[in-house]
Amino acid sequence: MSVSSVFPQLEQLLPRVSKPIQYVGGELGAVVKDWDDTTVRWALMYPDAYEVGLPNQGVQILYEVLNEQEDVLAERTYSVWPDLEALMKENGVPQFTVDAHRPVKAFDVFGLSFATELGYTNMLSALDLAGIPMESADRDVTHPIVLAGGHASFNPEPIADFIDAAVLGDGEEAVLEITGIIRDWKAEGCPGGRDEILLRLARTESIYVPRFYDVDYLPDGRIQRVVPNRPDVPFRVAKRTTMDLDAWPYPKKPLVPLAETVHERYAVEIFRGCTRGCRFCQAGMITRPVRERSITTVGQMVKEGLEFSGYSEVGLLSLSSADHSEIGDMCSGLAEQYADTNVSLSLPSTRVDAFNIDLAQELSRNGRRTGLTFAPEGGSERIRKVINKMVTKEDLIRTVVTAYTNGWRQVKLYFMCGLPSETDEDVLEIAEMAHEVIRAGRAAAGTKDIRCTVSIGGFVPKPHTPFQWAPMERPEVIDARLKMLKNAINSDRSLGRAIGYRYHDGEPSLIEGLLSRGDRRVGKVIRRVWEKGGRFDGWSEHFSYSRWVEASTEVLPEFGVDLDWFTTREREELEVLPWDHLDSGLDKDWLWQDWQDSMSEYEQDDCRWTPCFDCGVCPSMDTEIQIGPTGKKLLPLTPVTNLRVPA
């Protein structure tokens, strides 16, 4: 049975909404297939506005991997703004894909990518608009399988009632395996209905199906245990790891949007994983081990990606790009190849050392100098030991001053507030550091014309990190510290004028904390917030702290817990955590030891350069570190004349 486009109905509404172009699709790189020629059909969603969601790498990769299969169709859908949502409800237009404007409800799988928990309410809007029952328990064989992926799915318990399944970790192979299982099941005539297909997925031992697990609670509100409620599913569900990134050079055909988006560039992941061991960083913990893409594959991807898309910006992405074993040759090689073109290259890096500046220098050869960013994350040397971000104050100042002497006039410094064991003094040291940077920078550069920006956000403890047991700081305390810091920066008027100050309030972080370490009971809060109108929680103009507090107060007392219980409470070693049955490979004893080490300010080295410290990931996931150098170099390309700018 074919499925028709909802565009004729949608088009009527478009003149009445803001930025209608985001809903029309038609991007370069988009794929539209005949519905009837395919057997397994995916709707992939990034649950945020198109302008944020379109550039998302994860969705672009899976979209391409799936569409390369002949009998598979994958389309994309994004959150619609409240103006269109209201009109769609009024006129009965369902949640649609932007590719062929098909109703999401007609697909076999509705896959959502959660880079952040703040997209949960948007998922509920999409389900509601799609006409898919909000809770998994109410769906039947005609409804798509609602599947969550992305970093937040490492603790999907708060959305356990709304999703049917979750994939932890890398998606490239997972989506193909899921496709195979659904293909077979459909070919057999969908035996056993919805339960059977979910069971087949669960039996892979790496797809989590919440309905097959029961959670029991202790009288004090803590979890007693999470156990399978049937014999044929695994006790623990393991994450996925895509090995050999050279074999998965996606995206090959990056999407080029017609509407304006947050990033308009070709992004290439130069490696996955990070073992620097920053204790706050969930991404670093759950994506181990490090797997590099080789210099030659990166070179090839950049060449072909630019030819396909016409982008004039390339981002070399990873969690700490300067750490790639071939980064020097990669940067000089690419800079060489694109020297006479209007292509600019950028390298997001959080490393605080002179090497970072060398690389930036290399990349700005054609005169386009992008900003330099350093992320010391903690204000005092003590707190930097706590979070395992090893850099001394002297090194930091020396590095920033080197940037100024090399011609940079503006650097950004990133910090966090509310870290475990943090005091006012730790935060106030940021002001001292910033003053010192400007003072030394002026002296070294011989000019007053230098600036630095201090950006500071609230720390959120995340599952599968050593800080998963840590108490959060109260928003009032965070806000007071942020204010104190601002005053301290401005206490010297001459220096203060050269320092920009950006901060995020404590309140949104607290809610992010509720969602990241929440359990199934938090799902009721999410639903309540959504019913009260909560949408787009990642946007300060839409986020409402009081709505979340009210909903928590209405819903949680029934369970004998509250918002503080989930956020500002420190957990004990033996407490069963909501995600203990979800296996990121990290050994819980190792995480606990690292948490203890953190409190005694003991630092942990990187296993790329020192022996394995037994975090548990490689043996339990049967993976290994994959790094170079390969010894290869980027050969000069035939000049890229098409992109040459006239002199």
């Binding site: 009527q12 478009l14 209608p20 038609g26 539209v32 016409g310 386009r368 098409n642 040459r644």
Partner: protein
């Protein structure tokens, strides 16, 4: 294609659009000028651009701009539109059109960059008439559906089809139940006879000459 870029810190491709259609309307006749670093075969340019553009955005023709021929903007002083009003009885629309044409001036309001402005939508209208041509450019099927044929001169501030629709509301209270579907059919120089001359005509002779020269 060897698109030329502006100089400066963040170079922009040299593309200029001549009287682009407003958001939300269809068009069969948009024109733009592209600066190139070197001469290319216009036929090749047409094919390459068409391949990269979205479905529905079709490059119909490319010609080399003749030196001294003046810019595109100089060759466009009027636009021909088709307005489909699904759910509106043709007779009702005809009455509104007659009232509009009979008025010496029809003041309408629109938000502009300078804020809300009031201006005359009547004077710029060269032709406004009902048509019963069965071919709807938008491909929509709705019964009833009034169709208006409209030629508007380019003036400042611009009078757009939605301003004329506002005018029909002002003079006759015409309120279409669903958003009308508007399509631009042509634009160019308006002759005394009321015909619109394709702005590329001026380049056609020279273009074919240079095309054969490059072969």
């Amino acid at each position: 294609m060897p698109i030329a870029f502006s100089q400066g810190f963040s170079p922009h491709p040299k593309i200029s659009y001549a009287s682009a259609a407003p958001t939300g309307v269809g068009s069969e006749a948009e024109y733009l000028e592209i600066g190139l670093q070197r001469e290319v075969d216009p036929a090749e340019l047409k094919v390459a651009l068409d391949a990269a553009l979205s479905p529905g955005l079709d490059v119909l023709e490319a010609v080399l701009a003749e030196p001294g021929g003046g810019s595109l903007a100089d060759r466009i002083d009027a636009s021909h539109w088709r307005l489909e009003l699904p759910g509106v009885e043709p007779a009702v629309a005809a009455e509104a059109v007659a009232a509009f044409l009979a008025a010496p001036e029809v003041l309408v309001e629109r938000m502009t960059k300078q804020g809300r402005r009031s201006f005359d939508a009547r004077a710029a209208v060269f032709r406004c008439a009902m048509t019963d041509e069965p071919d709807l450019p938008s491909g929509a099927v709705a019964v009833p559906c009034a169709i208006i044929d409209l030629v508007v001169r380019q003036v400042i501030p611009a009078v757009r089809p939605d301003d004329v629709l506002s005018g029909l509301r002002v003079v006759a209270g015409l309120e279409p139940p669903v958003p009308p579907r508007v399509t631009r059919l042509a634009q160019g120089t308006l002759t005394a006879q009321g015909e619109i001359v394709d702005p590329l005509d001026a380049d056609h002779v020279g273009a074919s000459a240079s095309e054969s020269a490059s072969r």
